[in-house]
Symmetry: C2
Subunit: 296 residues, 2 copies
């Protein structure tokens, strides 16, 4: 199986295309890496870049992009609605195929150490790569109340904000959160009704925040005259897509409604589809080596 | 997407391991090819070899194996229960990933032409590669009543048996059927009963030969005290695995029985699993480009 890692850095620049293009170019010219998407938000003044590649390719590209962002973005002049603390604000590594979460944690640590030493940027390890339990949650590391300006004041004087790598001092490139997390699947289910209340009730039943499944975020919408349950599956290995859609089906059935169709927004790891097929087909002893393509 | 072709040649030698090993060795030493399985049957005096690889690798390996079999196997001294007409008896190319059936038909024609010209062996194109409608069915080309000995007598004198490539004369290597066919999936479903009659009734309901689905062969067995519906799916793109298992479920339900589990015997193309996931998840507008691994 080919080894594939995804990287989804967020940069604090969403208004000047020429700056964004120079950062993206650093990734594009790295070997064994492919850019899948670039999405800029001027109100947030922020760009989300998605690329995949070999473990080494992705690590090299991430470092090159962080270096270029530090060169081109001055956080002293950055404003935007989204909380932010650095030119490269947050950069997760995501295991896609043939690599484990531990592999991605190792990549996060290696890249973090390089960024700290060679670029002089304070680096915080977060989520699966966190060295402090409280930083498992990015929100605790970069709350609205402690963004770039507060970090600049407190890093070096308050040990609470000591970074994992790099100087205990925040410069114009700010600080960067580097971590590892599972892939995210954005998945919408359309119901056979135009009653958005039913979509909202289903969303409340299945999402974690209101008592539902551990790795599901969900909301109800009305889209093109159909009630839609819009979901983010934040860890498909622990809360698989088939379990989610069957729970949506059961909850909607309670109101006499069924599923018309569903859709992916963006990408899905192959493994999530294979897991669903194995579950529905009841292939209890399935082995990935039974897949022809995995044998070459 | 990586381009993968499977090849499943049958050789008329199933008793002398040293002969079989020399033929298999020709495949193993070809670039871009991997041997997945070798299965010999002494009663049939026949060996089935399964290998996969790039289109060029598989074509080169097939030719090399046919040449070696022609060198080592003398059909004048071959006996066995299974109908046979050549040292390499039948050799199908199977599209697995990133190649079409037409691609495999082209490979069959190219390899067939080389075998005819360079090795002087009469070659018949069969199944999807057939140039005569009656040879779409291998059984019509190699009936029990027209094996090696009859071909040797009739080829060259009866135009009915004119080959697609090679001389109109059968030598000690016999004649070879070269063709293209869809991948085969061997799939068993275990029912929640020990009543083999129910498995047999379900098998009769779903299989093509008794009025069921077009590309399904099925029989009922008792295995380890459980009724088992044992199936060969001969074209999963036209009769998909999810439709088969749901029909098994419905027919078994008629007798108050459900599905305990299922199993694959051997290999399955990734596409068959993805198709099942897309069907069950109702991903109506699914595009293979939504799969992360297909983007690199």
């Amino acid at each position: 199986v080919k080894r594939v890692v995804e990287c989804v850095p967020n940069f604090s620049e969403g208004r000047r295309p020429e700056i964004i293009a120079q950062i993206v170019h650093m990734v594009e010219e790295t070997a064994d890496v492919k850019v899948l998407d670039t999405s800029s938000d001027p109100a947030h003044n922020r760009t989300v870049l998605t690329f995949i590649g070999s473990p080494k390719g992705v690590a090299d590209a991430a470092f090159a992009a962080i270096a270029k962002a530090a060169e081109l973005i001055d956080m002293d002049s950055h404003t935007g609605e989204h909380p932010r603390m650095g030119a490269t604000d947050v950069l997760p590594f995501v295991p896609i195929a043939g690599v484990s979460m531990d592999d991605c944690v190792q990549i996060a640590r290696q890249v973090g150490a390089r960024v700290g030493e060679e670029l002089g940027i304070p680096v915080y390890l977060y989520q699966e790569a966190a060295t402090r339990p409280e930083w498992a949650n990015l929100g605790a590391l970069r709350p609205k109340s402690h963004q770039y300006e507060q970090k600049k004041a407190d890093v070096g004087s308050d040990a609470k904000w000591d970074p994992d790598f790099g100087p205990h001092r925040v410069g114009k490139a700010g600080a960067t959160a580097i971590g590892a997390r599972p892939p995210l699947i954005a998945y919408n289910v359309y119901l056979t009704t135009d009653d958005v209340d039913i979509a909202e009730r289903v969303a409340r039943a299945i999402r974690h925040s209101s008592g539902g499944l551990a790795f599901v975020k969900a909301r109800g919408f009305l889209v093109d005259g159909k009630a839609q349950v819009s979901m983010n599956l934040t860890d498909f290995r622990r809360t698989p897509i088939h379990r989610v859609v069957e729970m949506v089906r059961r909850e909607a059935g309670r109101y006499g409604v069924s599923i018309e169709r569903s859709e992916l927004v963006g990408l899905i790891p192959q493994q999530a589809l294979v897991d669903a097929a194995v579950w529905y087909l009841q292939l209890d002893d399935f082995d990935a080596q039974a897949v022809l393509e995995n044998r070459i």
